[in-house]
């Protein structure tokens, strides 16, 4: 029974989001902290070092952590204000059960009673309908220890094949492309390799807002003489002063990079020696891109031909370079091809595996990298092993003390899990660190699917919009209430340190999971007494895999300011830069730098396909979605932090004046955007910094402010990433109807400033 117990307003009144601001000891300027804990930010994949000030078991503020080499004290506003999630009035401090008679739709129950109920419902569903009738959703903001434990819990304790994670909405296109081309999925270079790159290509990354610390690296590259090329349908802050701005029409990235490769071949801007000795498949790709003449590329991408030629020349003639991309090219029904098309121009240039010769995706979530390495993904076992590979199954089963044939087979991606819930195949669900009701495309369908669950339990620290559907909510832990490792954007494994204890009945997530295993009478393999003990097993489980953590210890992480994997042994220094001659490689075993038996990288033909839903007469405008700097993902944390909400309180629809004028829309006007799946009414921000055929809405809000009411659930056939970056919509000016109140009129703000 997973319908909402009360109407959303009643739920919000009790459980928030309420805004937490500086109060009590956090404004007491004389308050001396009891201790200062060096750790990392809880939000994005940059994983900036930060010192948390702690007093009376509360995080009361921060101090810059100048000694951490990646960010040297720098932080974005989310990092500065992150401490306000502690001591929050919305914090869940007891277990809850669905109770339509309670004011907020939930009533508190003893923790042990809640665990027993979860276990009995799992038992009931699985004994009636089989083990695969219960599924698990997990997340890439968890530490690697927890992510590892979730994969093991699903396969060993629940024996279900249905586990997947919210990294499916994040880096999977890049991951799949990296595996196809390099045999390994990790950013190939440390960020210092940006600093002296002659050309920095930023494709589909709103760097300044989504990975702000990277900005300083890019600006420094420019000071050192580098040129910056930005590919984006919007002039984001990183694009504002770009040497070359390529305003690509959303969904046409493959065409652009194929067009650049065409010009590289035509002008012989190729590293023949590298292509010959270290790659496979160039000829087929060269033949494929013959059709991508500059004229055709310009027509399809909507970018001026002269700019395409200039980009190809800058890229083609450079001695060093760093190509980075992010969700802008990855969130597509052809996201893998988009990434492969960028890798093709990297391989053709031969600029990889050396200082300042670099390629990588800018991961989004805090453990976006580590969370996709150790087995919470539908088809994966720890150490980047494949759950369908008999040798891999045998090794991991041995570590887990089970027989290989007991391990389930590969499951399906998280959106397909929603479809299986809708179809009645999955009847029970446990979710942690995931807010699919806000973050998955076509919200309406996701809500209907959740409502069909016979039993739904959520582990969370705030009552997220998804948790509002739960039968039982188990109070988990905030980032600062536990320790463990994460792997940040560069591939550097770092350590999150515990600053405070969880409040009330709240428990560290791994304890909650183990309590469920015990209540199920299946405690074998779930009796860890600390994250360190989990990590020690993870190290062994990853040993010999591509993502080999065996040589990484908490002590080494502290001593080295992080250790880059692969790190196969105690005496191995770690691998800051992949693909260097002679570097450790368990697949090629000396045959070459790339992770295939022959040691060679793969060119892959990247064929152009238009977006799944292209514009037409009925829906003539392209919608693209993304983030703003002051909010993070589905906003479960950041929509509860007062100063971050003040900075950008409500989603706006960004629209070019040409399109706005056609519909009589002026700055600040209520504007309705409608797709085949839903509609949304927001204030317009009329700006010339976006393509006139495209509008932009940030996606951090739920309900009637959710951009994902409009987006399409089309997915990449390989990575299964949803196409958040393109769907077809129409827009109109919304006229106020007498007596009706448009959404969001309370808390008036000056629209379009983005400034508080």
């Amino acid at each position: 029974m997973a319908t909402l117990p009360r109407d959303p307003d009643a739920l919000t009144n009790v459980w928030g989001p309420h805004l937490h601001r500086m109060e009590g000891s956090s404004v007491d300027t004389g308050a001396e902290p009891d201790k200062i804990v060096p750790t990392h930010c809880c939000f994005c994949g940059q994983q900036c070092g930060i010192n948390l000030k702690v007093k009376d078991n509360l995080v009361i503020g921060f101090e810059p952590r100048y000694d951490f080499p990646f960010n040297k004290g720098m932080l974005c506003p989310k990092g500065v204000k992150r401490y306000l999630q502690g001591g929050h009035p919305d914090r869940l401090t007891s277990a809850l059960q669905r109770d339509p008679k309670a004011d907020g739709g939930f009533s508190s129950i003893p923790y042990d009673v809640a665990i027993a109920r979860v276990a009995s419902e799992i038992e009931r569903i699985q004994s009636t309908h089989g083990p695969n009738a219960f599924g698990v959703l997990s997340g890439a903001s968890l530490t690697s220890e927890k992510a590892y434990l979730m994969g093991k819990f699903a396969r060993v304790c629940l024996k279900t094949k249905y586990i997947d994670y919210n990294g499916r909405l994040c880096m999977v296109s890049a991951g799949a492309a990296n595996k196809k081309a390099f045999g390994i999925d990790r950013c190939a270079n440390p960020w210092d390799d940006i600093l002296n790159a002659e050309v920095v290509v930023i494709a589909g990354s709103n760097t300044a807002e989504c990975s702000p610390i990277t900005t300083n690296y890019v600006w420094q590259a420019r000071e050192n003489g580098g040129k910056v090329i930005v590919v984006d349908p919007r002039i984001t802050p990183i694009a504002r002063t770009a040497d070359l701005f390529l305003p690509v029409k959303p969904g046409r990235d493959v065409a652009l990079f194929n067009g650049i490769l065409h010009l590289m071949i035509e002008n012989d801007w190729l590293d023949h020696e590298f292509i010959e000795n270290h790659t496979v498949g160039f000829d087929a790709v060269a033949e494929h891109v013959q059709q991508w003449t500059p004229q055709k590329t310009a027509q399809v991408t909507g970018i001026a031909e002269k700019s395409i030629r200039a980009a190809a020349e800058l890229w083609g003639t450079a001695k060093t370079s760093f190509l980075m991309h992010a969700r802008g090219i990855e969130h597509h029904s052809h996201g893998v091809e988009n990434c492969l098309s960028t890798i093709n121009i990297v391989l053709a240039s031969g600029r990889i595996g050396r200082p300042y010769c670099a390629y990588g995706t800018v991961v989004g979530q805090g453990n976006g990298q580590g969370g996709r390495e150790h087995g919470q993904k539908a088809d994966q076992l720890p150490g980047w092993r494949d759950i369908m590979n008999p040798a891999h199954r045998e090794y991991v089963a041995g570590v887990w003390g089970v027989r290989p044939e007991e391990l389930p087979e590969a499951g399906v991606d998280c959106y397909e899990m929603m479809r299986k819930i809708d179809a009645g195949e999955i009847k029970g669900l446990l979710s942690i660190c995931f807010n699919p009701k806000v973050s998955l495309p076509d919200n309406d369908f996701v809500t209907r699917a959740l409502e069909k669950l016979e039993f739904f339990t959520v582990i969370d620290f705030f009552l997220s919009e998804t948790a509002q559907h739960a039968d039982v909510v188990l109070p988990g832990s905030l980032h600062e209430e536990d320790e463990g490792v994460v792997c940040q954007v560069e591939g550097r494994v770092i350590k999150i340190n515990k600053a405070v204890d969880p409040p009330g009945d709240a428990k560290q997530d791994w304890r909650v999971i183990q309590d469920i295993a015990r209540a199920l009478g299946r405690p074998h393999g779930f009796t860890f007494d600390s994250p360190r003990a989990i990590f020690d097993e993870l190290r062994v489980a990853s040993k010999g895999g591509v993502a080999d953590y065996f040589g990484i210890t908490y002590e080494r992480i502290e001593a080295q300011n992080g250790v880059f994997w692969p790190c196969p042994s105690d005496d191995h220094p770690g691998t800051p830069r992949l693909f260097e001659a002679g570097s450790w490689n368990p697949i090629a075993k000396g045959a070459g730098p790339f992770y295939f038996p022959d040691g060679k990288a793969r060119f892959n033909v990247a064929a152009y396909r238009p977006p799944a839903e292209d514009v037409d007469e009925e829906y003539p405008v392209i919608l693209t979605t993304g983030r703003v700097v002051s909010q993070f993902l589905s906003g479960t944390q950041t929509r509860r932090i007062g100063p971050l909400v003040d900075q950008y309180p409500e989603p706006l629809v960004e629209i070019h004046p040409k399109l706005a004028q056609k519909h009589g829309i002026a700055e600040g006007d209520w504007t309705t955007v409608e797709s085949r799946r839903g509609n949304i009414t927001l204030r317009a921000q009329v700006v010339t910094t976006i393509r006139p055929d495209t509008i932009f809405i940030p996606y951090h809000w739920p309900g009637r402010k959710a951009a994902n009411q409009l987006t399409i659930a089309a997915q990449d056939p390989i990575s299964k990433i949803p196409e958040y970056k393109v769907c077809a919509v129409r827009v109109r000016k919304e006229l106020p109807v007498a007596g009706s109140q448009l959404p969001g009129t309370a808390g008036n703000r000056q629209p379009g400033t983005g400034n508080s």
Binding site: T215, F245, N755
Partner: protein, 202 residues
């Protein structure tokens, strides 16, 4: 000697400086930084404004209560609470628009370059956190080595008033105007433009 350098060319408008300023222990809850879009309809350019710490501070010169003091090392401080009469003269007179009147406190407050931090060898809060390097605190040698494309200036002309400041502004050595525009970078081909503009211009 550590100095403060403002480099608006690098600013990304993230407001990290604004957020961090309000975390400073001496004025927690109040940010002393102004961060604004120059003209958002046509550009994402933003400009952070901190106190420039003038050698002859106009704010102090116009203060009828003699409440604004400049330290020996050139830091212009927030008004002295016992003296400030909240008259707003300084707010109106400052050529950079820095002082803020905190009406609930009847006190003018402004950036004091994190005197509590800098006096013990720490960087100011804003220049610590700024993720783009638009606010930078370091030596002149460091900034010259790190930012060869720009040069620091500290003389400003407002009408007939010439002002020299302790804080430096980084300005491009090559003063060419950089302006990126979507339309000028789009494909000119009429076939490709058709789906973009015919619909819209109709």
């Amino acid at each position: 000697m550590m100095e403060f350098f403002l480099d608006p060319n690098r600013c990304i408008g993230c407001q990290s400086c604004v957020a961090a300023c309000s975390e400073c222990d001496t004025h927690r809850g109040h940010s002393m930084i102004h961060l604004q879009y120059v003209e958002r309809p046509i550009s994402v350019q933003t400009v952070p404004v901190v106190c420039m710490h003038c050698d002859s501070p106009t704010c102090a010169e116009v203060c009828p209560a003699d409440a604004i003091k400049r330290t020996g090392d050139g830091v212009v401080q927030t008004a002295r609470k016992p003296r400030c009469i909240a008259c707003n003269n300084c707010v109106l007179a400052c050529p950079f628009g820095v002082p803020k009147m905190q009406t609930e406190l009847s006190l003018m407050m402004k950036c004091d370059m994190c005197y509590d931090r800098t006096s013990v060898g720490l960087k100011p809060m804003c220049a610590s956190v700024c993720p783009s390097g638009a606010l930078y605190f370091g030596t002149r040698e460091e900034i010259e080595q790190l930012r060869p494309r720009s040069e620091p200036i500290n003389t400003f002309q407002f009408g007939r008033q010439t002002i020299t400041t302790k804080v430096h502004m980084m300005v491009p050595r090559d003063a060419g105007v950089q302006h990126v525009d979507v339309l000028s970078a789009m494909n000119e081909d009429p076939v490709a433009r058709m789906d973009v503009f015919d619909e819209i211009d109709a």
